[in-house]
Symmetry: C2
Subunit: 392 residues, 2 copies
């Protein structure tokens, strides 16, 4: 974005979503009670962006009649696309990078996400996904005895030892999330998005995961080496803390509430098309967890009702970009819908790689994607000025 | 609509706006406290319509893949247009009859409404608007003394006698609103929308208002005769009640709250371009009144922010129809915006005449308007089926 802003002589504005970062409508009480959380919705966020753009146009000299483009990645990419859909008078177009706008309801199979995660590991080293597939059973078997639990805690260098089967379930979830995160940030160069990581981190991880036929203990020792790449690339960590998976504060509280109201994304695994333990999508359980945590129940059909699901062809000027390595691409728009609702896929891209700063190790495919994106932006701007001229 | 539904083999659904009629989210408490009123917004109404359409499509046999068209008049017309703008995946098009979607902010001059009211009276009889113009001074002069107040109350057959200048202000407002209502329902045949009325009621009223140069008392006696047409066409009223202007319950409470939050429509008069006493648009006073009545303050720029103001050209498939006699046409879309955002004007039409049932006295212009409207609807339906075929 920084690179493109210069080329387009644009001002970059980063709008902070309310309830994230420092934008807390009720200060420190914002998350204390569900009645303070009523204003945490995607619709409210879009409305805030609209008011912000109006304000900026009114107050910044020279901004008044300038075209605006919405950009975002991930949830921000969904917001960018939805903003163009709902406020087309505010932005001439939107770049929705890695925006899984179809990961709702039954628009895509619930297993698509974990299937892509698995595929990333399968392609990154011999036997890699198979080794992970086998690790769950190894954990289960080792965890059957007290000494096994103790051994596991030691072998994985856990900060807090495992005590019971609930802890083991938690451990498995934490390891799964680690593989998911690695799939999202499988970038071609050293980076620090969720954690500081080497280039192509899955390849590095997979070096330790090339033998699925070892003993349970040997297999878990290799899993530790792999996890250590993710959690301890800097070499500073003395133990692994299974209560967190990312270093940076990405607003997990806010997202947890949103996932429990509007943003209901069904996930599942079957252990056949993916390397995880089978787990079906259980809305009732999901809803009960939400009620326990936030005192609210999710509305699973609302997002497709308000944003149109797959029926979005009457909108215009949105570029949906997706990296094929990115598990979120499974819920994204990866085929052109119309001439002005276009999909750009980046075969060697992970989660919104295209939005990252230029890098010497950028694969050609992301360079091409970015240049296509800029071409669309320039077209939107030209169209905007042409229609302005017609008016006067 | 009934006539057209038959022609298009359509099902007619009347969706009741929440907080109107029997749709009271908090029962009898719905209007008791402003915290019960948070769900009374146009956005919420649109969301309700979306959920309703989804529900109907799911539950009514054969409805699933049928195209839907939004229709509405007045505020309902605004909602129809906005619904197509915000939920284009839900309806193939919208007929927005007499929808003043531009009567917000400074999109149109605040005097346009009363100018059209005046024009209706000017055209409906010699000296008619001039007589009304002169009546305000006559009332003011008569109201200066106690005996004048008494005389006025008797001459106008008021149910409650006037006591002070505040009552006189109220009387003037009530008379003004009567002329406004007459302009809205100046239909070519007997009707009963706001009140039971003769055909072309302004012409009938104007028969009593043809001499602006009479004495104050004589002029007011004629004003009474004119008012009597509106309030006592049936001959049943024993006195005129200046606390109400319509017989039917049009949801004045709900609208009052909406006008005090989102739906801020600026009105003004100058006594030159119109037949009323000059009154400028005073937002501060308006806001203070809202705060007194509802404990809320209006957000005058929100409607143009959320619905785009005049910048709506990226939308499609909306017919905006307006009667030229209708004062609301001043805030309506009366010129084509694009090929699919079209304006239909009905020179002899009052407030959404086109939505009324067929009548032997319908002017040719409304017949033409209706046939154009149906032609657009048929095109939307054809386009819908064509795009369905393409998908499969």
């Amino acid at each position: 974005m920084w690179d493109v802003a210069e080329e387009l002589k644009a001002m970059l504005v980063f709008a902070e979503h309310r309830y994230y970062g420092e934008s807390l409508p009720f200060g420190n009480d914002s998350f204390k009670d569900s009645r303070y959380l009523n204003y945490l919705t995607s619709e409210q966020a879009l409305a805030d962006f609209a008011v912000l753009i109006k304000y900026l146009k009114r107050t910044i000299p020279g901004a008044k009649n300038q075209p605006v483009i919405a950009l975002g990645g991930s949830y921000g990419g969904m917001l960018a696309a939805w903003f163009r859909m709902k406020y087309p008078h505010m932005v001439v177009g939107a770049l929705a990078a890695s925006a899984p706008i179809w990961h709702f309801g039954n628009l895509v199979p619930c297993g698509v996400f974990m299937k892509i995660v698995t595929e990333d590991f399968r392609k990154s080293g011999p036997n890699c996904s198979e080794t992970i597939h086998n690790s769950w059973g190894a954990i289960t078997r080792l965890a059957r005895t007290g000494s096994g639990l103790h051994w596991l805690s030691e072998a994985l260098h856990l900060c807090t030892p495992l005590r019971n089967s609930q802890d083991v379930q938690h451990l498995k979830g934490w390891i799964s999330e680690t593989w998911i995160n690695l799939a999202m940030v499988d970038y071609p160069y050293e980076s620090n998005f969720l954690q500081p990581l080497p280039a192509w981190p899955i390849k590095v991880v997979c070096k330790y995961l090339n033998n699925p036929s070892l003993s349970d203990a040997q297999l878990l020792e290799n899993i530790f080496q792999a996890l250590n790449i993710y959690y301890n690339y800097s070499g500073q960590a003395r133990c692994l803390n299974i209560s967190e998976t990312t270093t940076s504060n990405l607003g997990t509280q806010g997202w947890s509430y949103q996932a429990c109201t509007e943003m209901v994304m069904p996930f599942c695994t079957n252990g056949i098309d993916d390397m995880f333990e089978p787990r079906s999508w259980n809305f009732r359980e999901y809803s009960d967890d939400c009620f326990k945590q936030w005192g609210v129940r999710p509305r699973p059909t609302w997002i497709t009702t308000v944003y149109g699901g797959r029926n979005i062809s009457s909108h215009s000027n949105i570029v949906f970009s997706n990296g094929e390595l990115d598990p979120w691409s499974g819920g994204g728009v990866t085929k052109d819908i119309t001439d002005t609702l276009v999909a750009i896929t980046i075969p060697e891209g992970a989660h919104h790689l295209d939005l990252r700063a230029r890098n010497a190790f950028d694969p050609t495919t992301v360079l091409l994607a970015r240049s296509l994106e800029v071409r669309h932006m320039k077209q939107w701007i030209r169209d905007f000025y042409a229609s302005q001229r017609k008016k006067h």
